[in-house]
Symmetry: none
Subunit: 203 residues, 4 copies
DNA sequence: TATGAATGAGAGTTCATTCAT
DNA sequence: TATGAATGAACTCTCATTCAT
């Protein structure tokens, strides 16, 4: 039984892969239509514009992964566990992107490249949502005495930055071979990372 | 006495502000020339191309700030101090950008948006340089027993991410008022941040 | 029944007339598109570039007329007949150009005005092909004792020049009325021309 | 004693060499001024426009060589001798162009590339003058029974074409090595050429 | 007289979007 | 519904010419 996909989804999939591999601006409508195996005009039967494709992609592929992230706050677990679950959600969401994780960073950072106000607002809202959850996890931890008291916003930002780059490590435009002799650099160790966040660098 | 600026610098300043505020691709040559108060053709008297403007901006505003960063490695100080100095350099460099620090993040992350190979290579080299220095600081700290042993690359990436977002905190597209009632969120505390990196979240 | 022309041919025809009447560099893409009654962008649906239009024009209108010219050499006829046939081919080819034969002379002489290497090479090849055939016809005639022995290359060049200007006579930028009272100047007499080439000016 | 040249002449010389070597359209005003060792603006102190430089160049370097060509007609010599002198004048004029004779062909053929009506008219007038002289030489020869009777205009055109290409032989865009094995192709033999014109190809 | 910084019209080309079929 | 031919606004860059010094 062959999988039947609607044209709508064919377009979305094609656009997704292209955006990830070539970037938004380097992806042309004709590329999307050809990758989807349909005509160029047909794209506009299903989407109002290139921006609109991106918006739906964002909603379905990215935003949706965070639908329930605020549930974290009301859970009856330690702040440390909440932090771990936050990282888990990030990992789960980003690991879906099999091709090139630059896509996500792009979203976070380059949102202003788009003209579509709805899209920009969506992106900003998601960043704010993530930040807010992390902020409240950390705030709660501080209040409960579980975490050391520091400026909460900046602590949250730092942790968010660490998570982002830890997760996106392999998209840094660097050739590790030039820096590190051994090749065993990509063994992901989530517990190790959490240990770093919780206990810091110090031995 | 009015400040006299060369056309070259007028163009650079105008381009800089526009790149920062509207992004590279949304900034047109005519925008730059108008912002600089000169004719369109004049831009090409001082720069070969739009790419060339960006390249010079990168070299003068960004790259130059890291000219001596590798000196850090040979200093006769503790790894902790080296980490502190690394952060200092980042702070000093980024604090020059009075407008919007998105510029820097863009550079690090979106280098592939440019076609100019020289520029791309320059950006990649700088990222690699920064990562390399941080990597060796951390590696040394681990070897000396000053830092806990973990995967060095991922530790370095995490720390780099934390630094980046800590520093660029105010460019996160979030309205903190929505999240945090009190307005006292932007008091930079570098020692506090270093403390977070060294000792972790845990109380 | 009205003649239906493809857009491709409309563009080609429009470009042809414009190139002939205004020259290549004075003809702008917008001129071509307007002459063809289409939009500027449409030109690029059918041709990669302005150069590409010219190249196709050259191939179809000029080069193709000489596809079989080398067959002449292996024919079992006198050298005089071969020369006659050479002239016939030139006449047939050039008489296709209903507008202004300057086009052809331009091609032969101004090939270096173009940047497109493929085009330049094509033009050079055609000139060489024509010269080569004429050269060998004359060489053979000399060897067989049919033609007087002289420097073959320079003889060939002279004959080629005579043919070219004989054929292109009416594109010389001169008003014959100023020079010759009678108007009966354009009666083409190919046998007379051949007689001139074979027997010379002398009575 | 060093030769002192006026700026006017420096510009003319520089432009001349550049036009010959790179062609009119590929030669930029800045190229001329640099080659002349003067400032760009200075060019416009001496010439109204790029066209005007070309016009003066044409007048002084080309047209002047034909100032006395009409004297030929009233000379008391045979038509054959007049033809020989005509060729001599052409040879003398063209041999001045040490660089690239394409310059001359350009003039004859590409006059329409220029906008300057005065220049175009000058070029046309020169072509007409040369043609007229040759026409009358041939006409006279025919009338005197020295030359065979043929259509005078076409005969004149043919002879002009032969002369032009004979003289400009080495600017044909062909690699003779591909066509002619022996390398001895460039021995100019004016008497041989005259013999060809007078007696034709036939043995 | 001599300059070269400044100019801007105009070039070829791109591509998201439209619309007749 | 599906199409792709057609579009033109908008882009970067060129260069003959101008003009304040």
């Amino acid at each position: 039984m062959t999988e039947i996909k609607s044209k709508h989804d064919l377009i979305l999939d094609a656009a997704y892969n292209l955006f990830i591999n070539k970037g938004y601006w380097d992806t042309k409508i004709i590329d999307i239509s050809e990758a989807a195996g349909i005509g160029k005009g047909t794209v506009y039967e299903y989407f109002e514009s290139k921006d609109a494709i991106f918006l739906e992609l964002f909603r379905t592929k990215v935003e949706s992964g965070y639908d329930n992230i605020t549930d974290l706050l009301s859970k009856n677990i330690s702040s440390e566990m909440k932090l771990k679950e936050f990282i888990d959600i990030e990992l789960k969401n980003t690991s879906k992107y099999t091709f090139n994780k630059q896509f996500l960073l792009d979203l976070m950072v380059k949102s202003d490249a788009f003209k579509n106000l709805e899209l920009i607002e969506s992106i900003h809202k998601l960043v704010a949502k993530k930040f807010s959850v992390l902020f409240h996890v950390i705030e709660e931890g501080m209040n409960k005495g579980e975490f050391a008291k520091r400026n909460t916003s900046l602590t949250a930002a730092s942790i968010l930055g660490a998570i982002n780059l830890y997760i996106s490590f392999d998209l840094l435009p660097i050739d590790l071979e030039d820096i590190i002799p051994s090749g065993k650099t990509k063994s992901w160790r989530e517990d190790e990372f959490l240990d770093l966040l919780l206990n810091g660098l110090k031995a």
